[in-house]
Structure formats: C-alpha cells, structure tokens
C-alpha cells in the first residue's frame, strides 16, 4: 500500500481516534497534536491546519474535547484541548472497535491463520 493511500485511509477512518488517543495522557495544543501524529506515524500520517482545527472544533462541539486558553508567564496564551468524560468513553469504544477491525483483517490476511 502506498504511503499516500495509507494516509488517506487512516485519516478517513481514524482521525477522531488518533486525536482522542493523544489527549488521553493530558491536555495538548493543536501544534503538539499535529507533531505527535506525524512523529509517531513516522511521517505516514499528517494533518494540516485546514483539516486539524476544524476536526478539533467538531470534537469540541460534540462534547468530547474541551478547549481552554491557557496563559503562562512570558508566553503567548495557547489553546489546550483536553478529553472530557464523554470523550474518554468514546475513546474506549473507538479503540475497541479499531482493535476488533484490525484483528478481523489480521484473521483474513495473517499467515498463521491460513
């Protein structure tokens, strides 16, 4: 599978899961989220501003994230996103769904199950 098609398929099906997962450990700002996605996927998945922030706003509208402007001394204020209780629950559901999907594909394609 080409890198472009990995990018397209993953982003289409799992963008929400990626963002919720990255916020599980604690609040992060948008640039941090985009860098982490790119770094942890070793460059295979990336989100540009034009798609990342609208997605964050949609997740916020659905009550899964909460954005807050945070001011630190000597720095410009930044908007941090954190998971809400509802977001944590949806994350568990999405993660289980994803694992079930991957396992199902693995059962079909994996050699040891042939």
């Amino acid at each position: 599978m080409s890198e472009q098609s990995i990018q397209r398929d993953l982003k289409k099906g799992s963008a929400e899961l990626l963002i919720l997962s990255l916020l599980q450990a604690g609040p992060r700002h948008g640039y941090e989220i985009s860098k982490l996605i790119e770094a942890r996927s070793r460059g295979a998945v990336s989100f540009r501003v034009a798609s990342l922030y609208p997605l964050l706003y949609r997740l916020e509208d659905r009550g899964l994230l909460q954005g807050r402007w945070v001011e630190k001394t000597g720095q410009r204020r930044r908007r941090y996103y954190r998971l809400t209780g509802a977001g944590r629950k949806i994350l568990i559901q999405r993660r289980l769904g994803w694992l079930a999907f991957v396992e199902a594909i693995h059962h079909i394609t994996g050699d040891e199950y042939a």
Partner: protein, 336 residues
C-alpha cells in the same frame, strides 16, 4: 515573525463567523503557523521557503472554510455533552448514558473508576484522587483488597482542567513523601513494534510502568521475577514482563522464555518474567517495560497512577497528604 492573519482571514471569508470567534480562530491558527515556520527555519529552510511551506498548511482557499462549515454549534448554543437528554427527553438521555456506561463496564470490568473527589486549590498542579471500584454486578477486581486501591490523577482548577495526568516530578515526590499509602505505582501508555525471529512481528501495547506496580496491585509474576529497582532508572537494563495472553499466544506458554531477547522498536529487551492474568492495569497492556523516568524532570503530565492505602487511612486523609506534598513542591519548585 510573518503576519498570518490576512491569509487566514481570507480563507474564513463567507463563513459569517462572530467577530470574537473569528479572532480566536485566527489567533490559534497563527500560533500553529508560527510554530511551523520556526521549525522550518530550524530545519535549514530560507525565510521565504519557510513562509511558502507554512502557508501550505492552510491548503487552497476553500478547504478551511469547507471543513469549518461541517462544525455546527447546537441551535440553542449549548454544548452537546454526556448527560444531555436529547430529543427523547430525560429518560432517553439517561438510557443512553446507562447503555454507554454498562457497555464500558462489561468491556473493562477490571477498571471501572468512580470519581469521589477533586481538590480545588488555586495552584497549577494538584492531586486528585478517585476510588477504584468494581462494577457492582460483575466479578470483583482481580487485585488484593481492592477497596484500598486508589486511582491517582492531578487536576488544574486554575485552568479548569479536571484531569491532566501526572508528571514525573510529582509522581516521584508523591511516592517518596507520602505517609498515607503502603505503595504507589505509575504508568504511561505506549505501543511498540515487537519483532522476534521466532514469531511474526506485530504491534503490541507495552506501557512503561514503575517497578512498584505489581506490589501495589498485590500480584506476583507467574514465572520469573518483577522489574528490579535498578532497572527502573534512566539507563537501566531493558527488561520486559510479558503479559500472560501474549506469552500464551506468541510463545505457547514456553517456560524457557526467561532470558529470551526480543526487540521493541528495534531495541533489545530481555524477558525476565510473565505477568499473571489478573494484571489488568494498565488497560490493554500486552507487556510491561520499566518506566525508568528521571524524577527531576517535570516534562508533560503523561502518567496515570494507582496507590494502595495504608490500613485505616481514609480517602480524605490521603487527599490531604498529597495536597500537603503538592503545596510544598509548588512553593519550593526545584524541577527542571
């Protein structure tokens, strides 16, 4: 720093956003482009090249507006959230919440968490404690004396953040300085690519944990030994405890697995023990590796924690104990 507001505003044209909302979006996106621009310069690009590359983040003129149109505020301006009743009335919302909650408890019976209290101090980082309890209708937690186990977290009421995770610095100072707990353990989250000549390469969940986790949960390895304190320090040996299921699935329960070296993300790890089936924390873990964190490094708030209360100590007393430590730490910050 280039002024990004004009190209962003152009792309927001036609959305008819409220003035304050538009200003916030421009501020947030401009910061992102500032960061990107700075990184591009650091990578060796010229100023002109970095501007061009950073602006590519905004894509063509209509993409941002098109994506933002998909964002729709509820018609009455309220945020949708768990607990909203929705069109079906109060019982519809209740039924939905109950359904979601039961599904989660059934899927993860060993780790249902009830929030019992949150500290409300006006400092940046505080202790929050939750009692770990079991789903009443399900099997009991697989740990020794579960009522004494508490889920630990930090909260930042100043920023209105209920859960922020725990930093290395706070975790270790809680662990060393508390008087309310028999033991505390902390763990992160993380997957790795497991490769081993004898089995198919695969992605596993191998969260880093403190060597104290097994003791805090009241568990023992079914084979081999626990992580040693010296291995749970920066620069310590790379060792791994395999989860029971992973051991059975990949190595067919081979009891000669101890001392075997496998690779996680290309790094060699020596198998020193097998976890019992009851090791249900961290959730979904296939294996444990040492946290080996630097206690003096604050870093990000990425850890989860669990503590075992001393006999006779109440949650309120434990909360007061951790509050005391947090206050001392934040009055005398020595972190990096």
């Amino acid at each position: 720093m280039p002024d990004w507001s004009q190209p962003i505003r152009q792309r927001l044209h036609g959305l008819n956003l409220e003035g304050s909302r538009e200003a916030e979006i421009i501020e947030e996106l401009s910061q992102h482009l500032d960061d990107r621009y700075r990184d591009l310069l650091s990578s060796g690009l010229s100023e002109e090249g970095a501007v061009t590359k950073a602006l590519e983040e905004l894509e063509t003129s209509d993409v941002l507006a098109r994506e933002l149109r998909k964002t729709r505020q509820p018609s009455d301006g309220r945020r949708a959230a768990l607990g909203d009743n929705g069109p079906g009335g109060i019982f519809s919302g209740f039924r939905h919440d109950l359904k979601v909650s039961l599904r989660i408890i059934v899927q993860k019976p060993a780790f249902a968490v009830m929030v019992t209290g949150i500290l409300a101090l006006g400092i940046a980082s505080n202790a929050a404690i939750f009692s770990v309890f079991n789903g009443l209708f399900l099997r009991p937690l697989p740990f020794a004396e579960p009522p004494r186990l508490l889920d630990l977290d930090e909260t930042a009421p100043k920023w209105d953040l209920t859960y922020v995770g725990i930093s290395n610095f706070d975790a270790y100072h809680w662990m060393w300085g508390n008087a309310a707990f028999n033991g505390m353990a902390f763990f992160g989250h993380g997957g790795a690519n497991l490769s081993d000549g004898s089995v198919a390469s695969q992605r596993i969940e191998a969260p880093p944990v403190t060597y104290t986790l097994l003791d805090v949960l009241g568990l023992k390895p079914v084979l081999g030994r626990n992580i040693l304190p010296n291995e749970d320090k920066p620069g310590g040996d790379n060792v791994i405890l395999l989860g029971y299921d992973l051991w059975q699935r990949l190595y067919r329960g081979d009891r000669n697995i101890l001392g075997h070296v496998l690779k996680l993300d290309g790094k060699p790890y020596t198998v020193v023990g097998i976890l019992p089936r009851e090791a249900a924390l961290p959730p979904n873990a296939d294996a444990w590796i040492p946290l080996a964190a630097d206690p003096n490094s604050s870093g990000s708030y990425y850890l989860s924690g669990v503590g075992r209360l001393k006999h006779g100590v109440t949650i309120d007393q434990a909360r007061a104990d951790l509050t005391r430590i947090s206050q001392v730490l934040h009055q005398n910050p020595t972190r990096q």
